[in-house]
């Protein structure tokens, strides 16, 4: 019923969060994906996570590439700005956007085709750089928009809907992210919202790049016996290393204060870190290399490892590396941006250029 406009009315008894907003305020347009698509469950988990974190929806920038997964930002956080960029290049657009305004929260939504095939290069570089964002890959192992060809994350030996067997080795984005220096790496399953919502919440609060690979079955083309990305298969082989709860220890944010600033978020983060240090699964560099073979071994055995696989406690992000200015660039005035004629003359003097007499 996607041609129907979503009613704006809601039950007066709907619970509200610290901002006084209901869950409905975090929704977007009606989904046009297939009924039962795993991606819609992920959208629902994103809505719940942001609602529970009480983040103003308009302070979230949603960016995506091309594909079924990349359509989903339309279906959550309707008040936020969204950017459906070009295929596989969402990471560069987020990088620019994050550099320009460090006060917003960046949520990148991509798919396995978008991130593991055409966008593998940009995926690698955004992990290396530690752009402060949440990077969610909705991973279904097929190209759903073009009738179900194998994608680069499809397991070797898994079967397509018409019986063709995949002969290529899969790309495991989790292992790649670990190797490339991501400071928060997790895998979830769209059929396990209880595990996914805390992962998203922790990812949002994480400083630096937070990567979540979410196995998300494609009901139209990859949900049959022989597939390793079907609901049945993942339910049967879900090797959850942990099911965490996320407990932000912080004072409620006053919704009436317009500027929900980064300083407050950082303070909240520091408090949270003390609180849940004990429950984080692995926080040292040594575990980064240790995790990777584990994940690979279990993958060989046909298990799907889920949970928070790696997190670094004191990560640096792109802004630390670039030493960027502390305010959004669009808030800088002419006086701050333009050095003026005196500075120009001094540069020209220094470089030996004679100025006009």
């Amino acid at each position: 019923m996607t041609y129907l406009t979503k009613p704006k009315l809601h039950h007066p008894g709907l619970p509200t969060n610290a901002l006084g907003l209901t869950r409905r305020d975090y929704e977007g347009a009606v989904s046009t994906l297939c009924a039962g698509c795993g991606h819609d469950s992920i959208s629902a988990a994103i809505i719940q996570a942001f609602f529970e974190l009480a983040i103003p929806p308009h302070r979230v920038a949603k960016l995506s590439g091309i594909g079924c997964s990349s359509k989903t930002p339309t279906y959550f956080l309707g008040a936020g700005h969204g950017f459906n960029s070009v295929h596989g290049r969402m990471p560069s657009v987020v990088t620019g956007a994050a550099l320009a305004n460090r006060d917003l929260i960046y949520l990148g939504v991509s798919g396995d085709g978008d991130s593991a095939s055409i966008g593998l290069g940009q995926f690698a570089h955004i992990m290396r750089r530690g752009v402060n964002m949440v990077y969610i890959v909705e991973n279904n192992g097929v190209y759903g928009l073009t009738k179900g060809q194998f994608s680069a994350t499809a397991d070797k030996g898994s079967k397509a809907k018409r019986g063709a067997v995949n002969s290529d080795e899969p790309i495991d984005l989790v292992q790649l992210a670990l190797v490339l220096g991501a400071t928060f790496v997790a895998r979830g399953f769209s059929g396990d919202k209880g595990q996914l919502v805390p992962l998203i919440k922790a990812a949002v609060e994480h400083k630096g790049i937070a990567f979540i690979d979410v196995v998300s079955p494609c009901v139209a083309f990859n949900n049959h016996p022989g597939s390793t990305k079907s609901y049945d298969y993942v339910r049967a082989h879900n090797e959850a290393v942990n099911r965490l709860d996320f407990m932000p220890h912080r004072e409620p944010i006053d919704s009436r204060r317009a500027g929900w600033r980064r300083a407050e978020r950082d303070a909240a983060r520091r408090r949270r870190r003390c609180a849940c240090a004990s429950c984080t699964p692995s926080t040292t560099r040594a575990t980064r290399s240790a995790r990777s073979p584990t994940s690979r071994r279990t993958a060989r055995m046909g298990e799907v490892v889920t949970g928070l696989l790696y997190v670094e406690d004191e990560p640096l992000d792109l802004h630390d590396a670039q030493n960027t200015v502390g305010v959004p660039l669009n808030a800088l005035s002419d006086a701050e941006l333009v050095p003026g004629s005196a500075a120009l003359a001094s540069v020209q003097r220094r470089t030996g250029v004679a100025t006009a007499a």
């Binding site: 309707g78 950017f83 960029s85 620019g96 956007a97 917003l104």
Partner: protein, 350 residues
């Protein structure tokens, strides 16, 4: 910010500009080839961007250490069809400095990519140039940006709504207002209020009309960038199809530098100089100076977009990658002009 490749550098520029920063990248012809897809997105979704193109020999890797203005057409029509971009043509480093600053004002005002068409000769050689001057009274033009206060006051907002009739809509920076002003950016389709996921023929026609209007606005703005005083001054300059008997800009400058002032008996020739979007009126043109490299692509732009009668153009071809010299231009034009010489019949008979 150091990007890993051209696809990323233009993406970072567009992401930054979408978020309200002034962003640019510098590249050469092969980089422009790589950036085509993103440039089309920025053009369609109306996102500012500034691209400095240090042109060199073409095609492919071409002549990386030699000079040519081979990118005129690929920049003028960057992306797969239905685009016309704003190109600025500096003639020397001083103009690079001035047009560099102006490019950002134009990009923000027009919400579109702007190219500064340099070449390797300007970009990598040592030049004698006038000292750079900055006008301290100049205010940066951030274009049409709707603020939270204006949204609160109930001002009508639609991302692609043409309020002022100039084809340039208002935008908001992400994160501006909790209730209003949020929008989606995408390259598929759009109506006045928002970007859409599916293209529709009616909207397609509207885009074309809006783009044409926006292009007209670009022409009007070409030089003044919102500053009436400068606009008026530049209005005269931009009309020009300048006839110059002494050789113009680059060649003259080069010749003087090398101690070979242009010969006073050099043949008069037309050199078109100006700035702005490819346009349909010869009075408001833009194209590279014909004496720089009268390449085939320059001729095509002059004829197709500036409506100049091809009969009135004398193309001279220079493509070996070395800087153009006064001597070469003079000789070539003299040679071409000689073909038009008429010998009186009487004399021929006698």
């Amino acid at each position: 910010m150091q990007a890993e490749d051209e696809l990323a550098s233009i993406g970072i520029v567009i992401g930054g500009a979408w978020n309200g920063a002034r962003a640019f990248t510098a590249t050469a012809g092969p980089g422009i080839s790589l950036m085509q897809e993103f440039i089309g997105l920025a053009y369609f979704a109306e996102i500012p961007a500034v691209i400095f193109d240090v042109q060199r020999g073409s095609p492919s890797t071409g002549m990386p250490t030699k000079t040519q203005q081979a990118d005129l057409l690929i920049c003028a029509y960057a992306s797969h069809g239905d685009t016309k971009h704003v190109l600025l043509f500096p003639e020397d480093p001083k103009e690079c400095f001035e047009m560099g600053a102006q490019a950002f004002d134009l990009a923000d005002r027009l919400q579109t990519p702007v190219f500064v068409m340099m070449d390797l000769d300007i970009g990598m050689q040592d030049w004698l140039t006038e000292p750079f001057v900055w006008d301290d009274s100049h205010q940066l033009d951030r274009g049409k940006v709707m603020t939270a206060a204006e949204l609160d006051a109930g001002k009508e907002f639609g991302r692609y709504l043409d309020v002022d009739g100039d084809g340039i809509p208002y935008r908001t920076y992400p994160g501006t207002h909790p209730k209003r002003g949020g929008y989606f950016t995408r390259g598929t389709s759009k109506d006045a209020l928002r970007a859409l996921h599916r293209g529709r023929p009616r909207l397609r026609r509207q885009h074309a009309a809006a783009a044409a209007q926006s292009s007209r606005s670009a022409k009007e703005l070409r030089a003044g960038a919102g500053d009436p005083a400068r606009g008026a001054a530049d209005a005269r300059r931009r009309d020009l199809v300048r006839v110059d008997g002494r050789g113009d800009g680059r060649v003259a400058g080069r010749a003087r530098e090398g101690g070979h002032p242009p010969r006073p008996d050099a043949h008069p020739r037309v050199s078109v100089r100006g700035r702005g979007a490819p346009s349909s009126s010869p009075r408001t043109t833009t194209c590279s100076s014909s004496s720089r490299t009268a390449t085939r692509s320059c001729e095509m732009l002059l004829v197709n977009e500036c409506g100049i009668d091809p009969q009135k153009l004398i193309p001279i071809l220079h493509y070996d990658g070395n800087p153009l010299t006064e001597r070469f231009v003079t000789r070539e034009i003299a040679e071409k002009a000689r073909l038009f010489n008429v010998t009186p019949l009487r004399k021929a008979a006698g």
